[in-house]
Symmetry: C2
Subunit: 547 residues, 2 copies
Amino acid sequence: MSGLIEHTLRGSWTPSGAAAAPLSPHALRWLRQRIGLAETTTPAVPASLVEAPASALPDAARAELADLIGEQHVRTDAAARLGRAGGMSYTDLVRRRSSAEFAVPDAVLLPADPELVQRVLEVCVRHDVAVVPFGGGTSVVGGVDALRGGKTAVVALDLARLDRLVLLDPGSRIAVLQAGMRAAEAESLLAAQGFTLGHFPQSFERATIGGFAATRSAGQASAGYGRFEDMVEGVRLATPVGEWRIGVAPASAAGPDLRQLAIGSEGALGVITEVALRVRPAPAYSRYEAVVVDGWQAGLDAVRALAQGRVLADVTRLSDVEETAVQFELAGSTKARALRTLLRASGVRQPCLLVLGWDAASRDELRRRRAAAARALRGFRAVRLGRPVGESWRAHRFSGPRQRDALLDRGVCVETLETAAHWSGLSELRSAVRTALHRSLRVDGRAPVVMCHVSHAYETGASLYFTVLAARDEQDPIGQWRRAKHAACDAIAGRGTITHHHAVGADHLPWLGAEIGDVGTAVLAAAKDAVDPTGILNPGKLIRPAR
Amino acid sequence: MSGLIEHTLRGSWTPSGAAAAPLSPHALRWLRQRIGLAETTTPAVPASLVEAPASALPDAARAELADLIGEQHVRTDAAARLGRAGGMSYTDLVRRRSSAEFAVPDAVLLPADPELVQRVLEVCVRHDVAVVPFGGGTSVVGGVDALRGGKTAVVALDLARLDRLVLLDPGSRIAVLQAGMRAAEAESLLAAQGFTLGHFPQSFERATIGGFAATRSAGQASAGYGRFEDMVEGVRLATPVGEWRIGVAPASAAGPDLRQLAIGSEGALGVITEVALRVRPAPAYSRYEAVVVDGWQAGLDAVRALAQGRVLADVTRLSDVEETAVQFELAGSTKARALRTLLRASGVRQPCLLVLGWDAASRDELRRRRAAAARALRGFRAVRLGRPVGESWRAHRFSGPRQRDALLDRGVCVETLETAAHWSGLSELRSAVRTALHRSLRVDGRAPVVMCHVSHAYETGASLYFTVLAARDEQDPIGQWRRAKHAACDAIAGRGTITHHHAVGADHLPWLGAEIGDVGTAVLAAAKDAVDPTGILNPGKLIRPAR
């Protein structure tokens, strides 16, 4: 069983045993120059100083749950409850650091297996207790906020003990994993059998299999391995009206694909307890490299050529000019100078970094795939930066979230958001979102840093992933970001999807209706009523506001 | 606008202008020997001798519909109504030939565009008239049976006039097509712009874009171009509660993928009026070839190696020993003899034909892909039959359905069914279905011919497609096939999906519940109630029995 990660208010992301990433001296210098920086650090309020409100879980419910899953797995202590109070968005972190009020679950339940999850739901229905399924707790969209939705109490249903590899069918290349298994552990269990799942989102160190399914996750290597939904062969869910098992074949015409209704259901249509996943042989070779293309449009065209030629690298990631400049800057002044010299010599005026990561079963396959990509990139005058830059990206691929504590300590507003659209609409989409963020995040005349990259590419379009750094408005840090996010979402609506891989949660709910229409909204509500007639499942997320 | 195909009772499939395929003398000889054959032909009852029951469409509804879409587009004549009375399954054809009773729509409506389809639905709701969306009429599962579902009347909503290419976005490689456009016409319109959809089911000559989406179709080239659902970027539907537009980006995490709820909705959740589809450049080169592998298990392993190595040919189709023998036999005695000699010399005892069809943008790409497949096939001792056998398969790829009239004339029971499962379960699935069909179709001691092929392969599994030829039980031809189909479906249930690409319709409905469970059944019913509260849409198909 995987060790439960003890959540603390301070260590917002970094799992115990892993190191938080401090800011380097040149990063501090750069931040000071670009957005201003608090001269003194403002560390988070220690966990021990934060009090949890009294638990509202009725005694009868608590006793019944303790009988069912064991006294020690019905936790009402402050540490357990505060540790499952919300996710990992910037506003979550700010709220916790400042000891501001936020919704705290009345208890944390840790059932041991899918059958017990099913029975826990039945108890919660009887006692009218809301249930927030909790995996890695890495939601950045309010997906695990402990909202009561008008119920007597709300519990976090932590799936950490559902951490087994249930079945491996090597011939069919299918692994059945329990929902609470963390991605990193899934990878190491599969690696021991020669397989990989190939799902590497930035949340990899914490997030769980069930969470990936619930949120329609897409990993950094989705170009090669597919989005999470592409890997799902079957799903098992606990629902208030009974267990639900979906998926008996790789493909079917037996009506709508109900797997695709469970994937992205965000705990509102059931608690995912097991997922059957397509796995692949662990690659024997891999290679990460980088090239630079001159200008954003040329970069987009290059990625489009790779996608439409169906020769994408497994990881294909294109940064815009702003993001590329920051990445060079943060690599250190010596490296940055060398890169600038190289690019000037190559005539590149608007460098856009393109990271290409390859996995392969053999050197020969690696060579063939790289050659095919090189053919597709002919005509784009890509300048090779070689492996060090690509490998450096790989080395830091999961470290972004770990730097947030250090940034927050120094008064930086740091957050990300993402969208996707068809190729013909990407430029307008990017401009609109950049404009919205620039306008709304200007503080005392200082412009924010708004960076963008294509994180996932398809034949018909791509995702855009924005990272924002701004001086924090110390009077109203949460309002500051809320207004910016609101402006960005308004810019996205009508131009792209409100979220490409972060899910809807509570934060995107106001914009979902515009995307799926009244009929889509009605269908989701009807599906929810069918599986959760009393509305105990994750109130206020995805389907309807709790308040 | 595409010419409306005039349906006749006799010409069950063959579109006007195309030739029905007669049986060759050696095919007749072989059939006589294997299953017995009626010595005299029993042609179908001519259309002119069949009477349609009086139309039950209320005058008020008819007048309102005529006002809306034009008098001439509300057809109540016998020819129009009989021509939309059911689909193209064996039992459909038998019923029509014998002038047996079958459900006939009370009118055929031909609205001109999506807006009018929406308004037609609103009229039908007001007058409590059931609506059966009608595309190519090629359902083989009772998907377009004119069931009333307790309503006042039932109309066939024929989408033939929705036949426009609405939009082509070449940069994003997306074409928006209206639902009534036939596949063949879509291909030729796209070809004029240098593109292809790449969707080639056996129903290609008749079936429509909307029908493909409604039934989760899979074409013969799905290994290369994907199943139909893989091509769908967006769907527009008319529903009794309003228009529904789904899909704004190639991928999204904005909740469940509602496109995958519309795809496979079989007219029960709305009338699909437009589909946005991913297109690809029309291939400059293509090559069809065939190899033979020794034995079914070796063949399965070979296809699995191609699928899991991700080097499948665009068309990859493996016949079992029985189907291979029949294909050789029907190629004519000279060719059959030559093939047998070749295979004996190569030491192949149990020949299984593997057709590989390649599309490519260049000779070089073709060469590279074939070489990659050849590498994956190393060790399977595949014997090359070369291009003639592959090209012969291509030349006849759509002709199977056209031979059914000739077979029915000669007293043959001929039908197909399909399923899919994961690789580890395919052998048992095939055995169980074969046993069920053999047992149930034995007539007067004569065994049926039961052939099987893998028509679609995936990394985790494959489909199995069965073709059956048997002596017809002239006393009860429909009962004969119903019992066989029932036995086959019972054999499939619990081992694979009840349908891989033919949809549920009325025929598979009794087995759907076992596949998607009580919760899945409840979710579908709830979705239907949300979009079709009075239940006018395609009653008795997919979601609940009409009677």
